[in-house]
């Protein structure tokens, strides 16, 4: 195991009594509890942690937080592996396993780096331009690029962990647990508001953890500990560490991804959720999300060993890690001097501080100078040297206007470069809340503008960077939020903390270090994750892009998993420079959820596997299972599809089931059909308006087939409705449409015709339905009843009776979807299985055969009966289907007027026809397109499509239903159905293949 040679002897928030071992890229390393993967790697002197996305350049750790663009790792193994984890956020645990992304075969020897040699031919817009090239080229590029430039791997096994969702309400949600957030939470909680404080790190304190500064005579660590202790003692406060607020949605709805057990690794407790998504409805929100330091844009600024100044400071203070031995600072503001002092005090040699400003005069700069550290005013890094680790920097002077490097270059050896180009408030959530940003020229950053929702930003997130001011602003924001939420009893803001303010000199933005004479800026990286250089941004401007949203899409700047946290402002500032526009005029891109990448698991929560979608089973389900039925999903229902006997293929089984029904008796579980109980004095009037045909003359005890349309005249659903009593109807719907039809009826009753006294209730699950069909059906049912007269004269087709079947109270409908004599027997659900058992036992002597949905489809297609959703697709009228006799001319109904619109009157509308392939063995695929004749070259006009297609055992040939232009006038004509490997001729016919006279319904 390699030694932690870069670990400082003392300090840091790590537990030196708890050493850990971990595996990175197959090598063993040591670390401590309290480390992140990044800090532990740096403690071992490992800077090279990955390869870049496009050019596969070696990359190191840039930051110490969630903004990290480079150190992306594949974390964990097997089903528990996750891509795109930021090493800077992964808490170390014993036996952690992680690997670099984007490199193959290894991080040190990377074949993809060959792209790097061709960076001149892979400029911005490469992908788009390639798309426009001859298509054949793209095939080649895609193969190479996709293989080389992955963004991690998906797990190859199911995730063993489980995840939770949680819904909560609070008065004040404080996002961010640095000093600002802690102060805000304290004020709001002291006013008795329910407070949630969420922070993405494992402990509260934000960027100040381990810093040696003072507040109110305490160290910052003591101040933080005291604040956290007070918050923890208040029952109205929920503290959520390791919790990233990932989304800010309408009406103050925010989502928080809490990593409950990630830091325990596979050693975590299996009976606890791994992560939890909190769905919070907050009355008020305080955004104390801090700020991100910006990198400097110079040549080779992406070399391992070059990091943000604040990150280096964090590694020293919080993790007791020296990120290097010999450092050069490069800054345009005073904050880097604080970092320089921290590093110098930790024993790191500070070779020089380069400042863009001519005369750095701030108090911190003076302190640095007093330590004897060389400060070079108006200097910049012209280029970094070294490949897998920075080894030196080339330093040059800037001219007055900072657009040219002048003088002679000086080389300074170093193994660490700390850069700071100023700070960008983390305005992502504010932007997600739809707030508009405004540019603050004094502080050279975007700050939140007016609030759109009930939120306020405070502290660094608001562009306030001094510690004391952050605390004051936090307290004020917390109290104001509580007050606005109605909680302000006796609360007041504590007095401002005692702290000597550090006088700071203003930042002087230098967005781009100019290239040396004769060189380009194509190694000046702006977006590290997506390998976008300053030259790419310049090219986009030169090629005519003016909108920052277009710049983003053209260069892919900000489109990585980090959403450009460290790159956006630099990119649009450089873009503005080229266009000659001010930064506010260039504008910003829109930030979108999630703030940082999240697992699919945490979004889905418990809705996986059996809980993903409910499965609905009929009361007879177990019987079907015991007979080896194959099932098909119809909506949420699981319906028997066919019942294969040993050795039977699906076609064998369906043939047998169809023939048994045609010749003897078949039985179908029809329990899933939608059933709606409709009552009220105006029920008949209501049905008259809903259905295309008339209902007022339907006698009690009779049934009628009905078709309903949308107001656009297109068929929506169909089914049989029976009149059970004076004001009582029983409507059936297709299985998949049951809920939609009920909602449709309710909509009209509530919104358009509230004067109608009609009441609808879903009965689908209350009743079980067995449909017996076939010439012997009457014999069977008659045997099982004593109080229903099955004499055909007394129980005619399309009527219904109530009585006992097999001793069970039942509603029996004599209707038919197969064309055979059939009875639908409805009983209470609890009696469904008993009814079924009796029918099967008694029916045995008649050769009763259960049939599934496939045989049902064949039988109804032989009769030309449509299925809503199969023959119809929302563009088909009842007239198109040949149902003109069912369309009343005497009354209005929903959709009627649309049937006389010019479009529905068109003569070339597609109409329902039968289709008989010339080769009777050829079963056409459903959905096949139909043409007149096949031309030599496209376009070939299509005249229709196949809606249903089966092999009919009874007819001993294939049959199909189709919608064909002018179909009804074309019976007898032959059309062509082009398939992948052949063209099938087929003859148009009437859409009835079996018993067109309808005599079989009498048995």
């Amino acid at each position: 195991m390699s030694q932690q040679t870069y670990r400082l002897a003392v300090g840091g928030h790590i537990d030196r009594t708890r050493p850990l071992s971990f595996d990175f890229n197959g090598k063993r390393y040591g670390g401590y509890v309290g480390d992140t993967l990044a800090s532990a790697l740096l403690a071992n002197g490992v800077h090279l942690v990955g390869r870049s996305y496009k050019y596969h350049r070696p990359r190191g750790v840039l930051s110490a937080g969630s903004e990290e663009p480079n150190a992306l790792v594949q974390h964990g193994t097997g089903g528990a592996t996750d891509p795109n984890f930021r090493a800077t956020q992964v808490e170390l645990y014993d036996e952690l396993v992680a690997a670099s992304q984007n490199c193959w075969p290894s991080v040190s020897f990377d074949l993809g780096a060959v792209n790097s040699l061709f960076s001149r031919v892979l400029p911005a817009g490469f992908y788009y331009k390639t798309f426009m090239w001859p298509k054949a080229f793209w095939k080649y590029y895609e193969y190479v690029i996709r293989r080389a430039a992955g963004l991690g791997r998906a797990p190859d096994a199911p995730d063993p962990a489980y995840y939770d969702n949680m819904h909560v309400h609070c008065e004040v949600l404080v996002v961010g647990g640095g000093v600002t957030g802690l102060a805000a939470a304290l004020s709001a909680a002291r006013a008795d508001a329910r407070v949630i404080l969420a922070d993405e790190q494992c402990e509260f304190g934000g960027g100040l953890l381990g810093a040696g500064e003072q507040i109110d005579g305490m160290s910052t660590d003591e101040w933080v500990a005291q604040a956290v202790a007070e918050l923890a003692s208040m029952k109205q406060v929920t503290l959520l560490p390791r919790s990233t607020v990932i989304g800010y949605f309408d009406h103050n709805f925010l989502t928080i991804a809490e990593r409950i057990q990630d830091h325990l690794g596979p050693m975590g407790t299996p009976d606890k959720a791994r992560q939890r998504l909190w769905k919070v409805r907050a009355k008020q929100v305080v955004l104390a999300t801090g700020a991100h330091e910006r990198p400097m844009v110079f040549k080779n600024n992406d070399r391992p060993g070059i990091m943000l100044a604040s990150a280096a400071q964090t590694y020293v203070n919080r993790f007791a890690v020296k990120p290097g031995n010999n450092v050069v600072f490069f800054t345009n503001n005073d904050s880097a001097y604080g970092a320089a002092l921290t590093l110098a005090e930790a024993g790191i040699k500070v070779a020089a501080v380069l400042d863009v400003r001519a005369q750095p005069t701030g108090r911190l700069a003076t302190k640095v100078r007093d330590r004897g550290i060389e400060i070079l005013g108006r200097h910049a890094i012209a280029a970094a040297m070294g490949k897998k680790r920075v080894s030196a920097v080339e330093v040059m002077m800037l001219n007055e206007s900072a657009d040219r490097l002048i003088g002679t270059a000086r080389k300074i050896a170093c193994d660490l470069v700390c850069m700071s180009a100023g700070w960008s408030p983390a305005v992502h959530l504010f932007s997600q809340s739809r707030g508009k940003l405004k540019y603050d020229a004094n502080r050279s950053c975007f700050v939140p503008g007016d609030s759109v929702q009930a939120e306020r930003s405070a502290g660094a997130a608001n562009g306030t960077f001094s510690l004391a001011a952050c605390i004051v602003e936090g307290h004020e924001a917390g109290l104001a939020a509580a007050t606005d939420a109605g909680y302000n009893k006796n609360a007041s803001v504590p007095k401002a903390p005692v702290r000597q303010e550090i006088e700071e000199a203003p930042v002087d933005p230098l967005w781009l270090v100019p290239a040396k004479a004769g060189e380009h800026t194509n190694k000046h990286f702006v977006d590290f994750q997506n390998d976008v250089t300053a030259a790419d941004v310049v090219l986009a401007a030169r090629e005519g892009y003016r909108s920052v949203e277009h710049l983003k899409r053209y260069t892919t700047m900000g489109m990585g998993t980090d959403q450009g946290k460290t790159s956006n402002v630099n990119a649009l500032a450089i873009f503005g420079q080229v266009l000659g526009s001010d930064i506010p005029d260039v504008g910003t891109t829109t930030f979108r959820p999630p703030y940082t990448p999240v697992t699919f698991g945490v979004l889905v929560g418990r809705d996986v596997g059996e809980l993903a979608d409910p499965v609905r089973r009929t009361p007879m389900h177990q019987w079907h299972e015991s007979k080896g039925a194959k099932f098909e999903d119809v909506g949420q229902w699981r319906r028997p599809w066919y019942y294969p006997l040993p050795g039977e293929s699906m076609q064998d089984a369906v043939n047998r089931e169809c023939l048994a029904t045609r010749k003897a008796i078949g039985i179908l579980d029809a329990s899933t059909l939608g059933k709606i109980d409709i009552r009220g004095p105006h029920a008949a009037e209501f049905l008259d308006r809903i259905y295309t045909n008339g209902w007022k003359k339907l006698a009690i005890g009779r049934c009628r087939y009905g078709v309903m349309c949308g107001e656009d005249g297109m068929v929506f659903d169909d089914g049989v409705t029976a009149r059970l009593g004076e004001n009582h109807y029983w409507m059936t719907t297709t299985t998949g449409n049951a809920a939609r039809v009920l909602a449709w009826l309710e909509e009209w009753l509530q919104t358009e015709w509230p004067e109608l006294k009609v009441y609808c209730n879903s009965m689908t699950e209350h009743w079980a339905t067995a449909s017996v069909a076939g010439p012997l059906a009457r014999k069977l049912v008659a045997k099982l009843t004593s109080d229903i007269d099955f004499d055909p004269d007394n129980f005619p087709f399309m009527s219904c009776r109530e009585g006992a079947v097999a001793g069970i109270p039942a509603r029996v409908f004599r209707i038919s979807f197969t064309g055979e004599l059939s009875f639908e027997i409805n009983v209470r659900s609890s009696c469904g299985r008993a009814l079924w058992n009796t029918l099967m036992t008694v029916g045995e002597q008649y050769g009763i055969t259960p049939f599934g949905t496939e045989a049902m489809h064949v039988l109804r297609a032989e009769k030309g009966f449509i299925i809503a959703g199969q023959e119809t697709d929302g563009t088909v009228t009842p007239i198109d289907l040949g149902l003109e006799p069912m369309v009343s001319k005497r009354k209005d109904f929903i959709g009627k007027r649309s049937l006389s619109r010019p479009d529905t009157q068109r003569e070339d509308r597609k109409q329902l026809v039968g289709l008989l392939p010339v080769d009777a063995r050829e079963v056409l695929p459903e959905g096949s397109q139909i043409v007149e004749k096949v031309d030599d070259k496209p376009p070939v006009p299509m005249i229709g499509h196949v809606t249903s297609s089966y092999y009919s055992a009874y007819l001993e040939r294939s049959i199909a239903l189709a919608l064909i232009k002018r179909g009804r006038s074309r019976h007898g004509e032959t059309v062509q159905v082009p398939l992948e490997d052949k063209v099938v001729p087929a003859k148009i016919s009437a859409p009835q293949f079996y018993d067109p006279e309808g005599v079989r319904i009498n048995g």
Binding site: A743, E746, R901
Partner: protein, 94 residues
């Protein structure tokens, strides 16, 4: 995610509701008397304003009642909720 105040159930998450489009479109008394254009106007044409919009919602996964909402299509602020048989708020410009 909107927070919608069902007149019967109170504040509930948007995902309990279904959207029903523009409110106060009355079905013509005698559609057969309308010209094609008039019928098309009823059937297809909607206001789609930028700003205050009167629209219908149904508490589909709750009490299943329809009601009206005044919502700003820019800010999503809900400024009024009223029952089907009630008149829109006076302030409404639509």
């Amino acid at each position: 995610m909107l927070l919608i105040k069902c007149p019967w159930c109170g504040d509930r998450d948007e995902h309990e509701f279904s959207y029903g489009g523009e409110a106060h479109i009355v079905r013509p008394r005698d559609p057969e008397k309308l010209t094609d254009d008039q019928w098309a106007d009823y059937l297809f044409m909607r206001k789609n304003p930028k700003g205050a919009h009167l629209e219908r919602w149904v508490h589909a996964h709750g009490c299943r009642r329809w009601f009206n909402v005044e919502r700003d299509t820019v800010t999503h602020a809900i400024t009024a909720v009223y029952k089907m048989n009630e008149k829109p708020p006076r302030s409404s410009k639509t």
